[in-house]
């Protein structure tokens, strides 16, 4: 029974990137690439993690995939490691193309690299690191799901995630400035302002699909009287799918362009919009690849920025958001930065009724979109949504206690939660914290009204 299910699992979803990549593989190439990665890029951590794991299964309950698949052990963190890296090590790299296809699907679409399991393993074994090694091997073998590979290509050619052309970017900023000036006269989106206090950075999808977020940020910045700027050159985008496919070299190039831009503008610090993975890339992984222990310029996430503005009285609450809200803690800024209390402080200030979902804070369940999983695109959408049934249950429980709106300060979480809410018919609304602040803050005299 389990056997046949195991066979079905890989044959069900056909992804062009995986199929065509695997078609070009020879066993010699596989062995060489695996050998190179293991030899040149891994060491004590991999060895210790593999040899210290006592096969206790205590990490299982940490993983939403496992919980959502009726506790199927193949979806447990160590179970996924067993099917991938243990096998690779045991076979000393002598695995075939079918194995690589399967390993690729597991590493890219059955783990969000959310690091929740590292908080449940008694040894603190970082399964997300082990899965990243598998992704790195797949990437070097040219076996990467097509959609996310395309996104990484966009990064490589344009230095942004969404094939946004240089003039389109500037146009978007001017356009949003014009729009927002209708509401607040004298509003500016200062482009290329040397020596500004803050470089405000966003991810590629903002100018592409969610430009109202730039509008809202501009309103918040102007209201708070912040001395800020945005660059007119590539280097404005902080997102990073290269990090997730294991294309570390390109991740390094992206982050270098990014920090170089900040230095060119001589800003004091970088504030980034409500995105989680981008924060991980700038604060945790990309800087390390470039040899910076910590980012060369202070970087703060929007949550921390809003918190500061509110504490300093630069933004004020005009009215409270009426509907009951719950807060979804994104992995990359909560397990990745501990911003959960600040987020609650701001949320509670602007809302009438706050309802915790359970578990919450650093123990929150993942949205199942992060780690590049949602970026693997439509072929894996159903699998992704079904792999997070536990999230739907958690949200439903919050809803039954009065939560109508979910605040999720992360783009990936937004996408993931939208799909979950839709698929499971939860009928909840999802907002960024910035949406709420924009709606409920005191604004300068409005012309429109």
């Amino acid at each position: 029974m389990a056997e046949s299910a195991e066979k079905m699992k890989t044959s069900k979803i056909i992804d062009k990137g995986i199929e065509e990549g695997a078609a070009n593989l020879s066993s010699k190439k596989i062995e060489k690439v695996i050998h190179d990665v293991l030899q040149n890029e891994t060491g004590a951590r991999l060895k210790t993690y593999v040899e210290t794991c006592i096969h206790c299964g205590l990490c299982s309950d940490a993983c939403h995939f496992y919980l959502s698949h009726d506790k199927d052990p193949r979806y447990s963190p160590a179970g996924k490691v067993k099917q991938t890296i243990w096998k690779i090590l045991k076979a000393k790299g002598k695995v075939d193309a079918d194995f690589i296809k399967k390993a690729c699907e597991i590493a890219f679409t059955e783990c969000n690299l959310c690091r929740r399991c590292a908080m449940y393993c008694p040894f603190g074994i970082d399964v997300s690191y082990l899965i990243s090694i598998v992704r790195r091997i797949c990437f070097k073998l040219g076996v990467v799901p097509q959609y996310i590979a395309d996104t990484a290509h966009s990064h490589a050619s344009t230095l942004n995630q969404m094939w946004v052309k240089d003039d389109e970017w500037i146009d978007t900023l001017f356009w949003q400035e014009e729009e927002a000036a209708d509401e607040i006269p004298n509003l500016r989106i200062p482009v290329e302002k040397q020596g500004a206090d803050i470089f405000y950075s966003v991810i590629g999808p903002e100018p592409k699909f969610r430009s109202q977020l730039i509008y809202q940020a501009a309103v918040i910045m102007n209201t708070a009287g912040v001395n800020w700027t945005m660059p007119a050159t590539p280097g404005w985008d902080n997102s990073d799918m290269c990090m997730y496919i294991g294309e570390n070299e390109m991740m390094g190039r992206l982050k270098k362009a990014y920090f170089d831009t900040a230095m060119r503008l001589k800003v004091k610090r970088i504030v980034m919009g409500e995105c989680g993975h981008a924060f991980r890339s700038i604060y945790d992984q990309g800087n390390r690849w470039l040899g910076w222990k910590m980012p060369p310029i202070p970087v703060i996430h929007a949550i921390e920025f809003y918190y500061e503005l509110l504490k300093e009285g630069k933004i004020r609450v005009a009215k409270k958001y009426e509907k009951g809200v719950t807060f979804h803690d994104p992995c990359n800024i909560v397990r990745g930065r501990g911003l959960h209390e600040m987020a609650r402080y701001v949320t509670k200030a602007f809302t009438r009724e706050f309802i915790e979902m359970h578990p919450n804070r650093e123990h929150n369940y993942c949205c199942c979109a992060g780690g590049g999983v949602i970026n693997c695109g439509p072929p894996f959408k159903k699998k992704r949504v079904e792999g997070d049934r536990i999230k739907a249950e958690q949200l439903f429980a919050a809803k039954s206690r009065g939560a109508e709106t979910i605040i999720a300060p992360c783009h990936n979480c937004h996408g993931g939660l939208e799909d979950i809410v839709h698929h499971y018919g939860l009928g909840m609304e999802i907002k960024f914290l910035g949406d709420i602040i924009y709606e409920c803050m005191e604004k300068p005299e409005s012309m429109g009204e």
Partner: protein, 219 residues
């Protein structure tokens, strides 16, 4: 029989301890060198403060959310590990042997207590073995070596209990006891039992990453 006894309780003891200590040091030092060469970031980010914070929260039962979610397992594994380390160190019979050889001694466990702790270890092995079979998520990860390791741990305690109570064949069991204890010691550095020596480092490292860099708890 006497010759064998003399051998296992004399030269072999020395050998076992030398391999245990030497092997553990070798594993730790070679890992430290490898880390320096290939994972320099482990040193960069290691923070004693947060390492200890993490180790503390994971050594004390019911501090971590995971240990609260599995109360029985937490109780058993805690009792099991404590008894496993405590009993041989404070067993009267062991202390007498050491006193005879080197004329040093220390506090020892009352007899009934020692018996109880030994049973805890044996029962713990049985519990963990059964858990490996009945829990699907554990069975999936388990291979033969996991059972062998449990047997290795259980054997010195079973045989020790047997010979102490002078049950039939206790001389043989006594020899087996010493021998299996030596095998266990020797195996620690070279099998998954090395989780004992690596625990502070894996835990400490992730504790440092979570605490010092990411400003968040890891339990």
């Amino acid at each position: 029989m006497h010759e064998i006894y003399k051998f296992v309780s004399g030269p072999l003891v020395w050998l076992a301890f030398i391999i245990f200590v030497g092997g553990s040091l070798y594993r730790l030092i070679s890992m430290a060198i490898l880390a320096k060469k290939k994972d320099g970031l482990v040193y960069e980010y290691f923070s004693l403060k947060y390492a200890f914070r993490s180790i503390y929260h994971w050594l004390i039962p019911f501090c971590s959310r995971n240990s609260q979610q599995h109360p029985w397992l937490t109780l058993v594994t805690f009792a099991f590990h404590v008894s496993l380390i405590f009993t041989p160190l404070f067993l009267l019979a062991h202390i007498i042997l050491i006193k005879e050889s080197w004329d040093i001694s220390w506090w020892f466990l009352p007899e009934g207590m020692a018996d109880f702790l030994t049973i805890v270890v044996i029962a713990g092995c049985v519990f963990l073995g059964i858990r490996r079979i009945v829990r699907p998520e554990v069975r999936y990860l388990t291979n033969t070596s996991d059972f062998i390791i449990l047997a290795l741990v259980g054997l010195p305690f079973i045989t020790g209990f047997w010979s102490f109570h002078q049950w039939p064949g206790s001389t043989f069991m006594g020899i087996l006891h010493i021998f299996s204890g030596e095998v266990l010691l020797v195996m620690i550095p070279f099998t998954r039992l090395s989780h004992m020596i690596f625990f502070p480092f894996t835990r400490g490292y992730i504790g440092s990453e979570f605490g010092a860099v990411r400003n968040v708890k890891d339990w």
